[in-house]
Amino acid sequence: MPAAQSAAPPHQRQVLSPKVASWLQVAPMAVIFTLMVLIPLAIIFVVSFLDYDFAQVFPELYLGSWVDLFTSQLTLNLYALTFKFVAIVWVVTFVLGFCIAYFLSFHVRSGALRLLLMAAIAIPFWTSGPIRMVSWVPLLGREGLINQALMGLHLTSEPVTWLMYSEFAVLVAYINLLTMPMVAAMANSMAKIPHSVIQAAKDAGASEGQIIRDIIFPLIKPGIAIGSIFVVTAVMGDVFIVKQMSGSQVNTVGMSIVTELNAFMYPPAAAKSIVLLVIVLSIVGLLLRFADIRKELQK
């Protein structure tokens, strides 16, 4: 293992060829993913073509799950809503995340303050999910703080009900949760930009906007890609937030899969999962085309 532990330049004596070293290093992860993800995935794939009833799957070819998936209005509705969530959440977390990361990296001058603010942004991320979810009702509910405030200020006479148990509420919770990974990924990329580069651009007469567009944005592409992967996969794979915040009243792809799994209807859930997986992997593939985060590591 020691010889395998790090990348060695070619002139260094090597017990293992770099390729073998890489394989050994990645082996534990590969084994776990193969055993715990890919084999179950293969089972899921097979199951999607089988007939089913009452928590049972029969070893008979049944294409109904796939036919329904590719022909029904439901699929369109599910993906329309899911992509709507992904798009809105991505745009908002991107803009918000960029503003915050940019502010922390280039406007906050004290390193200690920057660290403190980063920690402040990261810490709620470590609070238990279910508890964070129940905490929205006292805030956004019919008798929640915001409604009390609105009515106290006589801005409304009736409580505003779309704050909670609505698509709006779902979006609020997503943005609340997923801005932090965007900030972290982008701030990390920004930290790699030497200050002299920004100074040089300023000296050249670039405005703040020009520096952002022409210098910072191209240089933080890998951070944008990683942050986007986090956000897109989290929203597309989520069932928990959408269920809690909509009061189970909206149906996304993930919700639909879970509804079927809760009814022990594995084949249609399997078919939906596979399509979802293919779509997410394609999006990630596109994001990596935009900025290959792995290439950054290879010198």
């Binding site: 651009a201 300023k202 007469g205 022409d214 191209p218």
Partner: protein, 364 residues
């Protein structure tokens, strides 16, 4: 304060011919044209990082005449880089004023100062090619692509980098990156170019080539360069005006020869090297090492000590004499003279010099 007066530059200098396929008219890169007294002037400038802390730069004043190559020389922490950064506008001035071409620019943002800074780490934009790096400042001013690229190519030619115009920074060597950085600084047509230890990252061979190049370009453009360095060789080789700094103040600012021959105080004498600082008749004097001799000579001042080191340097031999007070004195003698006597390490020896070669130093 002494001011170095330098001859004003000769007439316009034509740049090396531009390849036929770029700009139709051969441009003139000569940049300093208007009449003014000084390219840069620092008036009683003080820099404090903490309101009540010790100043990093303490009430310094300096005038840099037109078209000069000025080196800020000193040990690390002496305030030379801070001074440069204040000139560039990267650091704020706590007290005092800065003028460029006789115009006060103390609080102006970098881009409006008429200065341009070349960074120690070059600070090239890693995602842009050499050409686009150089063209950047034109781009942000909204110059059309064809025009700005043509212009950028001229400047790449000036630094002899036009053949690598399409390379990204990480595909270039350190020396090449530096030339691109230089071109990028120059394309803004600065009145004063600021260089922060520009040669420190280069190997000795490249360093010497590059320093000739810098001098050539400075003369060609007819603007002032202000160059921060801690290497006295570099300063002596390049500078029209050497500014020696220590402990936040200027020790001496004068033409290279004057600094070398008549250092104002012991620090300057020691820092520049090639001088012995001696207590002679109750005062502190400096004597150039090459004006010292080995062995007592009548009519000359002398001191005695032990030879502690002998260095052969080709043309010259450098002999260190350690006095009873444990101070090292240096005698620099032509190799031929040395081999006549060939004294050895450990021998007791006398070092002597003409009283007329003594140069009185100001107390520090």
């Amino acid at each position: 304060m002494k001011l170095a007066l330098l001859k004003t530059p000769d007439t316009d200098l034509k740049v090396s011919p531009v390849p036929k396929d770029t700009a139709p008219a051969t441009p003139k890169l000569k940049q300093a044209t208007q009449s003014h007294r000084f390219d840069a002037e620092i008036v009683s400038v003080t820099k404090r990082y903490a309101p009540l802390g010790a100043p990093a730069v303490d009430n310094i004043s300096l005038r840099i005449p037109r078209n000069s190559y000025c080196c800020l020389l000193g040990p690390s922490g002496c305030g030379k880089s801070t001074t440069l950064r204040m000139l560039a506008g990267h650091e704020d001035v706590s007290e005092g004023a800065i003028l460029i071409h006789d115009r006060e620019i103390t609080t102006l943002p970098p881009v409006e100062r008429g200065t341009s800074m070349m960074f120690q780490d070059y600070a090239l934009f890693p995602h842009l090619t050499a050409l686009d790096n150089v063209a950047f400042s034109l781009k942000v001013r909204g110059v059309a692509q064809i025009e700005r690229r043509a212009k950028a190519r001229e400047y790449l030619e000036l630094v002899q980098m036009d053949h690598l115009a399409e390379r990204l920074p990480n595909q270039m060597s350190g020396g090449q990156q530096q030339r691109v950085a230089l071109a990028r600084s120059l394309i803004t047509r600065p009145k004063v170019l600021l260089l922060d230890e520009p040669l420190s990252a280069l190997d000795p061979f490249l360093r010497i080539r590059m320093r000739a190049e810098l001098k050539r370009i400075q003369k060609e453009l007819g603007i002032s360069f202000i160059h921060v360095t801690h290497s006295q060789d570099e300063a002596l080789a390049l500078a029209d005006l050497i500014v020696v700094m220590n402990d936040a103040v200027i020790m001496q600012a004068a033409p290279a020869r004057e600094v070398f021959e008549t250092p104002t105080n012991a620090f300057v004498a020691k820092f520049l090297g090639g001088h012995n600082v001696i207590q002679s008749k109750g005062r502190e004097v400096s004597v150039r090492a090459d004006q010292c001799h080995l062995g007592a000579r009548p009519g000359m001042n002398s001191l005695s000590g032990k030879i502690s080191m002998i260095e052969y340097q080709g043309t010259n031999v450098r002999i260190t004499v350690t006095t009873a007070e444990n101070e090292d004195m240096t005698v620099l003698m032509p190799a031929l003279t040395y081999f006549d006597h060939a004294p050895e390490i450990g021998e007791t020896a006398q070092m002597s010099w003409e009283a007329s070669d003594e140069h009185a130093l100001a107390p520090m």
